[in-house]
Symmetry: C2
Subunit: 358 residues, 2 copies
């Protein structure tokens, strides 16, 4: 079973061999360097490999339905190579405080991954996305109706796992979900709108992405019996990690490689989503980018040109700096913990996330 | 506040004065007769009026969001004249066993109404419905994206209320929700499909409608401390009540009045949903109905003609008989309870539901 974990989780994050053929040699050198660096550090996946395997089993069990299509749609996405970052953060935050009751933490980590997966299904409907994780999106493959219902189904399964816990855990999980929906609304509000500010962007990212990271880490520490101030510290760690993670997602949507990302670049521009590089490029006065961002009649050529323009300016470097700042803010609370394998795992995870190519 | 309850709950069920103008005089006489009959019976609304008021307050509080549109969409539907039948069943099942902890039962009744409301929002997307509860559907008014997210938001709020309870309540509630999604899939599977049988129909209705009734009643009895066999009996009551309720919904979609229903008749035919009158009419050999049911290019005239054809045959009488059978099955478990105001309320509710005109 450990091989399964490797296949689903490790391999995609540590760069897929079989997808490298079409990449440029200099990129391959970069990847090789990073891989060496990562291998020499503590691998956060290995720290919680057994627990992650239990999460996988939970996920597989929970998506069984008498209606085969609900299982098929759920499996399509869940087996589709998710990175399992959110469960990993939750598990590490539990283990770093010496948490022992593995079954509990595995259940809540499963709930958090299910919530994330449910939102991906609904997101693909909202964005009309055709590709997700390197293959046809569920929305494209199974249609709007079944995909919408499958998203509800996964939310319900998450509730089944999370509803077992005490009022605090239930409230935190529900709050994270509420923030997710509010983040979606806020992102929709600023769709193709030039007036979007950096503050608006951060508010969207906190709610849409970082909130679920934060909750997972807080629940992990809380269930391990950490004292309240450490629970908050772990929340701070994961909130900042989540923001850094999203910024890199945005950056890769401009400078990433289709083969590694599993989807074409330029999706944010195509969908009119205010990503950090787009906002920064517009602030730099790149009028072509502003025009493309506002347009709902974009051609492939317009997208390509705008993406190249963003890539040539300083927006990407600035965005990476932002990401680094948040990564540093994520490091701080971890530094306060006594040295341990899991503390190092939490630190390496920040590094992995901010230096990833997909 | 009691006036608010009357406005939201009692008036629509006891026939709205202001909507009668355009109805035929003979219908008005019918309505007057029924109203007298209902008034002389125990009014199930009055039995739990105070608790229903608390459910209303919970609903209002729970839909507050920092994103105004989520509150607006939720309020659009929640203030739009729902009958609150599900909370009522839950509350009556609690009170009939002498349940005392009002706050708890009000919370779970709120969760159940929120789940129902969430599914209505998503249903309107699935059916492309333009009208709901006498006014523009949220889907039509606010668009697909915001409505989809608002449905998720209401599911999450339901989870917040239901997640406080013990593992049994959480599991029953989650199971009901899972059945809802499976019922939706099953209904979609038989969309415009002639091969749909009565058994298929019952399976859809049990999952899509009756399951949430059943869970509400079981949770009500369980939280009141009823013994397990009575908990099951209350489940049987509500399951059969839910089926009877849905059959009458289907009947009214053929013979109802737009002014009372708050939506045009013939919606099931328009959407290709296999309703009981449609299935029975097809079994009677009404080929025009079969043709209309299968067609995805229906004109208004074709719908009108098919609806008139169903109305002239024996399908409606047969469907009402089915509904009566389920109403009788709902009565039986209630007969086993010692006489009380609430027992009578449960019985009157069956009568109200099967004799309603909207």
């Amino acid at each position: 079973m450990f091989r399964d974990i490797l296949r689903h989780v490790m391999e995609p994050l540590l760069f897929q061999q079989n997808k490298k053929k079409s990449l440029h040699p200099s990129l391959l050198t970069d990847i090789a360097k990073k891989r060496t660096a990562i291998k020499s550090a503590i691998d956060p996946f290995r720290c919680v490999a057994e627990e992650l395997e239990l999460v996988e089993r939970n996920l597989m069990r929970s998506i069984r339905s008498s209606e085969q299509i609900l299982t098929d749609i759920s499996a399509h996405l869940i087996l589709g190579g998710g990175k399992r970052i959110r469960p990993m953060v939750t598990l590490l935050a539990f283990k770093v405080f010496g948490g022992k009751k593995i079954e509990d933490i595995v259940d809540i980590a499963t709930a958090i991954e299910l919530i994330h997966t449910a939102t991906l299904l609904h997101d693909d409907i909202l964005d009309g996305a055709e590709i997700r994780r390197g293959k046809e999106s569920a929305y494209k493959k199974f249609g709007l109706k079944a995909t919408l219902i499958a998203g509800d189904f996964l939310f319900i399964k998450a509730f089944e796992f999370a509803g077992k816990f005490d009022a605090t855990v239930v409230q935190w999980t529900a709050d994270a979900c509420t923030h997710l929906t509010e983040g979606e609304i806020l992102q929709g509000f600023f769709n193709r709108k030039l007036e979007v500010t950096l503050e608006d962007y951060l508010e969207i990212v906190k709610r849409k992405t970082a909130s679920l990271f934060e909750t997972g880490a807080k629940v992990g520490a809380y269930l391990a019996g950490a004292n309240p101030s450490f629970v908050e510290e772990m929340g701070t760690y994961a909130l900042n990690l989540g923001i850094a993670f999203q910024i890199i997602d945005d950056v890769l949507d401009v400078v990433g490689h289709k083969e590694l990302l599993g989807k074409p670049v330029g999706m944010d521009l195509r969908d009119g989503n205010p990503s950090l590089p787009i906002i920064l490029a517009i602030r730099e006065g790149q009028s072509g980018v502003a025009e493309a961002f506002q347009s709902d009649h974009l051609t492939e050529k317009m997208i390509r040109t705008a993406i190249e323009t963003i890539g040539r300016g300083s927006a990407i470097a600035k965005a990476r700096n932002f990401s680094r700042s948040y990564a540093e803010m994520a490091f701080k609370p971890v530094e306060k913990l006594p040295p341990s394998l899991y503390r190092n795992g939490l630190k390496t995870l920040v590094q992995l996330i901010t230096e990833r190519d997909f």
